[in-house]
């Protein structure tokens, strides 16, 4: 094989800087071969090595009595009782989705599901968190159709319900959209599979689709470099998802796991065969020898370099117990899938690659894995960051017509009904979806128990841009508030940290602030981070996305019959606000609609937040309240409108509400103060709820009553549900066209 001469320059093309190249040469005591350079380049890429983020991620709380598996494995796992564990993780697929929205999003969903079922868990629910550019940007429509189509196309076809997510439109994502996918699975707590290759001599078995030239350097390189003019030639063959094959792979893997044949198993994701084998060997403190001639190939004449770095989808690497090879073959044959023994576990802490009888790579594991570079990059707030916080409300005129203002908000692509999205997703398959998309959190029951899990994903990146520390805290507490409103107790989170180029101090500062915000909020709520993902270099031509630390929250409820939804249930019920409304408009959708993007995000007191949660949780468990809805974008007025509108199929209930407060009326109606929940209840329970609130020092205000077919708020707002629904339900279809 005539391969390129390895030089510092070639290393640079592989995204390795001079210093890193020198470290490689020093670590192995010679110039690496071309194949070895490829291996180092992916293992040392930001995506695989977390070299810029590790030091900070260590500050996150990752332990707790219910944590069975924290960060470091394919996914996190938490004890939910009844001998079961919830396995979950969120992951980004941003760059591929911008290059080819349908396939990029589809393969993102496929990848995260593999991370979960490699742990032995049966996936029971997916979420998708999406960020697009301005909705009137010429490319946005195309991207939205492609991404939503791809998520549905893959999720619907593999039979895992997509039960929720979130979606925002912001010019800050015009050239760099975000597609974060989350999967939750259930497994017997004593049957969690891990990915450390042990047992010298055990066979290494390749299962799933054949290997092609798909996505070479895809996730690893693309996700570790900015977008720009250079991207064109870097662009790898786009990975095409095959959900049908993944469904077979899912069933085959779970079936095999019942057969006591597996030592370790890992998905071949970013950097495919390379990272899966290196990581498994490193975790097992063993070594692996691979014979590339035995790898099932889809294309002619593939080189070792290509075979090792291919990111073909729907593939897994298994370390089987010696002697159980036939069991593996039998199970995979049943599901019409390839299973090939391609190597074995060794004891020399080396990764050895053989091709046509020649050893084409022979590298020590240590420098590849643990020994990968770790940076504490300079972090400093930019001047803009401070300028952004300046806002003088005296220069903001009050609206002449509050009805118009509310209709304007209900028409906002960031607030309007998401039905256009979720009706394209199967959210029913597997028959566990107790609360479908359209309420604060989705609720999926756990068959064989009385329990259910509530799921929500959140992040307001406008807040994060104004103050990454507070914004990240709010992302955590809002997602927690969402599951609390459903009747669950926050259990744990998975976080997906989407940021710009970490080599820029201003970006690194955003990242560090956000990590600290998550850390402090999680500590206050007593909620651990059990898995997550970092996506840096979300930039195009030097323009970074707004910091977007997306939080996926999983909540647990012991009695599924005690769940609650956000919409009003009955004429005559009393409407109560838990929490206090302050004169806060910074970062609000209301100001954004007027083009005002400066200010400070809403204030957050974690103590108050936990009290509000305590009251709401107890009230739901005691059966006091019939609906609970978190106040988020658009404030109290929008939240009340949603309480009236979101229960569409379930009848139409209006509300008559009085609001007092010594603050600007627009802040009263549209301000986005945190730690607020709107509940509705039968009048006879009012007393008990009030006591509960007092006991937890939680502000308690009777707002009014569920009544009629209009929403009336004091003398400011009076609209029919019909006219509100018209706007709220058509806002997305009107702009995006038929799904």
């Amino acid at each position: 094989m005539d391969e390129p001469q390895v030089t510092a320059a070639l290393a640079a093309e592989h995204g390795l800087n001079e210093d890193e190249y020198r470290r490689i040469v020093a670590a192995i005591g010679r110039i690496p071969t071309y194949v070895e350079l490829g291996i180092f380049s992916v293992m040392w890429s930001e995506h695989c090595s977390y070299k810029s983020s590790r030091r900070w991620l260590r500050e996150l709380p990752t332990t707790g009595p219910r944590v069975l598996q924290g960060p470091g494995e394919n996914a996190g796992a938490m004890d939910i009782g009844d001998g079961l564990a919830a396995v979950f993780k969120i992951e980004s697929h941003n760059h591929p989705s911008y290059v080819e929205p349908y396939q990029g999003a589809a393969t993102g969903v496929g990848g995260i599901m593999r991370d979960v079922f490699t742990m032995g868990a049966r996936p029971i629910a997916n979420l998708d968190s999406l960020r697009f550019g301005a909705i009137d940007h010429p490319r946005t429509g195309y991207l939205v159709h492609g991404v939503v189509g791809g998520i549905g196309g893959y999720g619907n076809c593999i039979g895992v319900p997509t039960v929720g997510g979130d979606m925002y439109f912001d010019a800050g994502y015009n050239e760099n959209i975000l597609v974060n996918a989350f999967t939750l699975g259930i497994v017997r707590a004593d049957r969690i599979f891990r990915a450390s290759a042990t047992g010298v001599g055990n066979p290494v078995i390749y299962v799933g689709s054949k290997t092609g030239r798909d996505g070479i350097h895809g996730a690893s390189l693309l996700a570790s470099a900015e977008f720009g003019d250079g991207t064109e030639h870097k662009r790898p063959t786009v990975q095409v998802g095959d959900p049908f094959t993944e469904k077979l792979l899912l069933e085959a893997c779970l079936e095999l796991m019942e057969r006591d044949a597996i030592v370790a198993i890992q998905d071949m994701g970013a950097a495919g065969l390379t990272s899966s084998s290196v990581e498994m060997a490193a975790r097992g403190e063993t070594g692996i020898r691979l014979d590339l001639d035995r790898v099932p190939l889809r294309e002619e004449g593939m080189t070792p370099y290509e075979i090792l770095l291919s990111e073909s989808q729907e593939r897994m690497l298994i370390v089987a117990k010696a002697g159980s090879e036939d069991v593996v073959r039998e199970v995979f044959a049943k599901w019409d899938l390839d299973a090939a023994i391609i190597g074995e576990v060794t004891d020399d802490r080396m990764i050895r690659i053989v091709f046509r009888g020649q050893e084409v790579a022979c590298l020590p594991l240590e420098p590849l894995a643990e020994g990968a570079p770790k940076y504490e990059r300079p972090a400093a707030a930019s001047a803009e960051a401070e300028a952004r916080q300046i806002l003088n409300l005296d220069h903001v005129a009050l609206p002449g017509d509050y009805n118009r203002a509310l209709l304007g908000l209900l028409d906002s692509p960031n607030i309007a009904s998401r039905q256009w999205v979720y009706r394209q997703y199967d959210h029913l398959v597997r028959g566990n979806t107790v609360v479908q998309p359209g309420s604060d959190a989705a609720v999926v029951r756990v068959k064989g128990t009385h329990k259910a899990l509530a799921l929500s994903v959140d992040c307001n990146s406008r807040y994060c841009l104004l103050d990454p520390y507070v914004g990240a805290m709010i992302a955590v507490v809002e997602s927690a508030r969402n599951v609390v409103c459903a009747g669950a107790v926050p259990l744990g989170i998975s976080d997906c940290l989407n940021f710009g180029n970490p080599e820029k101090p201003a970006i690194m500062w955003q990242f560090v602030e956000a990590v600290h915000g998550i850390r402090d909020a999680c500590n206050a709520l007593g909620v651990p981070v059990v898995s997550g993902n970092v996506s840096f270099y979300n930039e195009t031509e030097g323009r970074a996305i707004p910091p977007t630390p997306t939080i996926a929250m999983v909540g647990l409820m012991d009695d599924v019959t005690r769940h609650t939804t956000q919409w009003f249930k009955g004429e005559g019920d009393v409407i109560v606000l838990l929490g206090r409304t302050r004169e806060e408009l910074g970062g609000s959708e209301y100001l954004a609609q007027q083009g005002i993007l400066t200010g400070t995000p809403p204030w957050i007191d974690l103590q108050v937040e936990t009290h509000v949660h305590a009251v709401c949780t107890r009230a739901i468990q005691d059966g006091l309240v019939r609906s609970a809805h978190d106040c988020s974008e658009g404030g109290l007025a929008v939240a009340l409108a949603e309480c009236c509108l979101s229960g569409s199929v379930r009848g139409e209930l209006g509300a008559v509400v009085e609001l007092e407060g010594a603050i600007r009326p627009d802040a009263l109606l549209f301000g986005e103060s945190q730690s607020r929940i709107i509940v509705s209840l039968r009048r006879q329970h009012l007393g008990r709820l009030r006591e509960l609130a007092e006991r937890h020092e939680t502000p308690f205000t009777v707002l009014g009553e569920v009544r009629g077919h209009r929403l009336t708020i004091g003398s400011l707002i009076d609209l029919t549900l019909k006219e509100m629904r018209q706007v709220w339900e058509t806002a997305l279809p009107r702009r995006l066209g038929a799904a």
């Binding site: 094959t245 469904k247 029913l428």
Partner: protein, 243 residues
């Protein structure tokens, strides 16, 4: 009675059908593997929802050649009850066991939502537990549920009373607005001429519990159970076997 639920590669709602039958209906349901020809003496074969063989080429086109389908075809020829849900309906059409074909939704996108369907005839093995004209609320979730057939075929199935379910509004009016996928004549479910094979796009197995979207789906399962209990042949015998 014994139910059999077929699992093709890519079947997805097979578990849900099994769950509806044994957990909710309280009857025996056994899985049938696509590679096997033995139907294990079941009284009714259910072809479940999903994306058999990825629904590549055309929905149901590849599944129809699975070994188990030879047995299902023979079972149907001998008057056995066959119940195709969503993808199962598509497979039955592709296999020629039901007239017509299901094509891409008129609006071209996958739709997951609850719809109302009107029971056109309660005098069949699949609907006897429903009232004539009864409105059922059932979920649909498909991208290719637009029922299409030739003029002649449409005329025939209408005359023969083979159309069992039609998309309608809550009041039972069959309107364009109530048609979620563009199906001709708002057809949501059809039966063969021999009246022992039935396919529908909505998912009755996802409407069997109050806590999860209502119980209307149970009526179809109960109908089949009652028919088997009564020796359903009586509902078959009433018409001369067709071509």
């Amino acid at each position: 009675m014994r139910w059999g639920v077929v699992t093709f590669p890519g079947s997805l709602d097979d578990h849900d059908a099994l769950y509806a039958i044994d957990h909710v209906l309280g009857q025996t349901a056994i899985p049938l593997w696509h590679k096997e020809r033995d139907l294990h003496g079941v009284d009714c074969v259910v072809l479940p929802g999903g994306f058999s063989y990825g629904d590549y080429l055309r929905c149901g086109a590849l599944a129809r050649f699975a070994p188990v389908m030879e047995s299902v075809a023979g079972f149907a020829r001998d008057g056995g009850l066959v119940f195709g849900i969503c993808n199962g309906f598509q497979v039955l059409c592709e296999a020629g066991l039901l007239p017509g074909v299901l094509t891409r939704n008129r609006n071209l996108s996958f739709v997951c939502e609850y719809v109302h369907v009107r029971v056109e005839s309660a005098a069949t093995a699949f609907t006897r537990a429903c009232g004539p004209g009864e409105i059922l609320t059932l979920p649909i979730k498909h991208g290719e549920g637009c029922y299409v057939a030739s003029e002649a075929t449409l005329r025939e199935i209408e005359e023969e009373g083979q159309v069992l379910l039609r998309y309608a509004d809550a009041g039972g009016r069959v309107t364009e607005a109530a048609n979620p996928n563009g199906s001709l004549h708002n057809i949501a479910g059809v039966m063969n001429r021999q009246r022992n094979v039935f396919g529908l796009m909505p998912h009755p197995e996802h409407a069997v519990e109050k806590a999860l979207g209502g119980e209307d789906g149970l009526k179809l399962f109960r109908s089949i159970a009652a028919s088997v209990a009564a020796g359903h042949t009586e509902s078959v015998a009433s018409v001369a076997p067709g071509p």
